[in-house]
């Protein structure tokens, strides 16, 4: 990391290493396969929410249709590996590339829309996709779902083992995080945030705003597709309801609860929502003897409360005390500033 980068964006190594450490450590603490499944799903969903976070938090564009891209990945992998006996790895890459181009083509007209209209158009895309996978039942298995998707194997090591899959998923998630961080911590990240603040001013500075919006949309779709492929190989079964609007909304909620303003928020939000679901279930069943219905109510209530009182998400709450710590260090930085206000740091 160059000095200049440190000056511009602060340190990223520490939180990244913290996360890596956490991921490496967890298998020693957690033994339950139930928790592993949740951790694996958090990894998979994080890949989607990271892309979505770039789109929503940085570029300021809403999407209620990412479950469709998630689904394209899952079904490409599923269909290519079952009906055409392709290597899962190849299918995964084909899925990503296809999704990228589909999203790019869709994005060109759709990202001209703003706010509610964009939300509705992406929602429409999700519904169209849903109907297509139901309708093309020769290929996709229709409503009955697609069974017998093979598990992944890496260098002869079958990833059916939860531990291996856990590491595999999180390696992928960390790579996606790294890519996202690279984007965010570069001129592109600045461009995206500028688009969020003022599209007009950004255009005036010579930025082809449309291209950036579409590129990020397509990229986030490709991430979703990657996650979809992993999902298909992990569960080894896919059925259309998994890719309905409810899932898109779930992704959106994860991003917003974590805090769309930071890529770390995406991972945090995904983790919190996944565990929240389980906790409501667990605490509700064990201590209050309540059943499924109440879960939905509590879930809805929590979403409303978080959006009302913490519209910037949980990341904002967490980063505040950290920032306060940094204030103390500010004196140090001040002297640093003098140094870097000259050229050639």
């Amino acid at each position: 990391m160059s000095k200049l980068e440190k000056v511009l964006y602060g340190n990223r190594l520490k939180p990244f290493l913290f996360l890596v450490g956490l991921i490496l450590m967890l298998p020693f603490v957690v033994k339950s396969s139930y928790i592993f499944t949740i951790l694996i799903l958090i990894g998979i969903y994080s890949i989607v929410t990271l892309g979505l976070c770039l789109l929503i938090g940085y570029a300021g564009q809403i999407s209620l249709g990412h479950a469709a891209f998630f689904g394209i990945g899952a079904y490409t992998s599923g269909v290519l590996t079952t009906s055409f006996q392709l290597s899962p790895w190849l299918a995964l890459v084909i899925g990503m590339v296809t999704t990228f181009f589909i999203a790019y083509l869709i994005g060109i007209p759709i990202l001209k829309l703003k706010g509610h209209f964009l939300a509705l158009a992406t929602l429409g895309i999700n519904i169209i996709f849903y109907i297509l996978i139901l309708g093309l039942n020769q290929l996709t298995g229709g409503a009955a779902g697609l069974i017998g998707i093979p598990s992944l194997s890496l260098f002869g090591l079958p990833l059916t083992d939860k531990l291996f899959f856990y590491f595999f998923v999180w390696t992928a998630a960390l790579l996606v995080l790294l890519l996202s961080l690279n984007i965010v911590r570069s001129h592109v990240g600045r461009v995206l945030r500028s688009i969020h603040d003022s599209e007009i001013a950004t255009e005036t500075l010579g930025v082809k705003v449309e291209n950036y919006k579409v590129a990020i949309f397509a990229l986030s779709a490709a991430f979703a597709s990657l996650a979809g492929s992993m999902y298909a190989h992990y569960i080894t079964f896919v059925a259309p309801p998994t890719f309905y609007i409810t899932k898109s909304i779930l992704f959106l909620i994860m991003v917003m609860v974590g805090g769309a303003g930071s890529v770390w928020g995406a991972i945090l939000g995904t983790t919190v929502i996944m565990f929240l679901n389980e906790i409501i279930r667990f605490v509700g069943h064990t201590y209050f003897g309540i059943s499924g219905e109440v879960e939905i109510v509590v879930y809805g209530l929590i979403i409303i409360l978080i959006m009302m009182f913490l519209p910037k998400g949980l990341m904002h709450v967490i980063s505040k005390p950290i920032q306060k710590l940094k204030q103390k260090k500010k004196v140090k930085i001040k002297s640093h500033k003098d140094m870097i206000s000259q050229k050639g740091v």
Partner: protein, 255 residues
């Protein structure tokens, strides 16, 4: 003096109302031209048409012989035209430094792909943007505030920031929409100083302004609009003597 900007018969109608009517003028290289006129006279509309934010009902504008009318907005920056806005358009959630670095966009080759994989090009671009931005920040004297969020700055400082962002990539021609509005005398003088300094480096300006003293001091030529029409054009001295201008701009005496 060679012509940099040529405006030919620009007209804009909204519904049935003509906001700007048949306006033509030139801006030469290294020249400062001011557009004045009462509120609602069509100055901003004219500005927006030249900078391609509005497409004119009639007429066109040329820059260095290239037709501007019908171009996409981002293209203008690549041609060497920068502009500021009447109601500030800074990026509130970016720091001052990042705001100014955004101005260097046309000099950079960063795109989503090479950024994602952090190719060496990126670090080079960051360096270029940073160095250019520092020059601009030094010019307007915002060094102390480099790492503050732009949204936290006072209005006057935001105005300076927007100016700095516009000049980062050394455009040939800068359009300023009321650059002095809301500035105090000290700030106004400083801003005038920056403009003069850049003029000495051969950059041309077209600006809209209400503060007459500044206009008279800075402008080589003044164009006066009233009700969408150009009612006068000339040097500051000529304009001050022009009876039509006095009537339109100052209002007739109340009987």
């Amino acid at each position: 003096m060679s012509k940099l900007l040529e405006v030919r018969g620009l007209t804009k109608q909204f519904g049935g109302v003509t906001a700007v009517s048949e306006i033509s003028f030139d801006v030469g290289a290294g020249e400062i031209v001011a557009v004045i006129g009462p509120n609602g006279a069509g100055k901003t509309t004219l500005f927006n048409m030249i900078s391609c934010f509005l497409s004119p009902t009639n007429g066109e504008a040329y820059f260095k012989g290239n037709k501007l009318t019908g171009q996409k907005i981002p293209q203008l920056a690549h041609l060497g035209i920068a502009r500021t806005f009447q109601n500030l358009q800074i990026f509130h959630n970016l720091t001052v430094l990042e705001n100014v670095m955004m101005g260097a966009h046309v000099k950079l080759k960063t795109n989503v792909v090479n950024a994602a994989f952090r190719l060496p090009r990126i670090l080079k671009d960051e360096r270029i943007a940073y160095d250019l931005a520092l020059d601009a920040i030094h010019l307007v004297g915002l060094e102390e505030l480099m790492f503050e969020q732009a949204g936290q700055l006072s209005y006057g400082l935001q105005k300076q920031l927007e100016f700095a962002r516009a000049i980062v990539y050394k455009p040939d021609f800068i359009m300023l929409d009321e650059p002095m509005a809301g500035l105090n005398d000290y700030e106004t003088n400083r801003m005038a100083g920056y403009i003069k300094k850049l003029k000495s480096e051969g950059i041309s300006f077209l600006f809209v302004e209400h503060k007459m003293a500044t206009v008279m001091e800075l402008a080589d030529r003044i164009i006066v609009l009233d009700f969408g029409k150009k009612i006068a054009e000339g040097t500051p001295d000529e304009i001050q003597q022009n009876a039509k201008v006095i009537a339109a701009y100052l209002g007739e005496e109340v009987v």
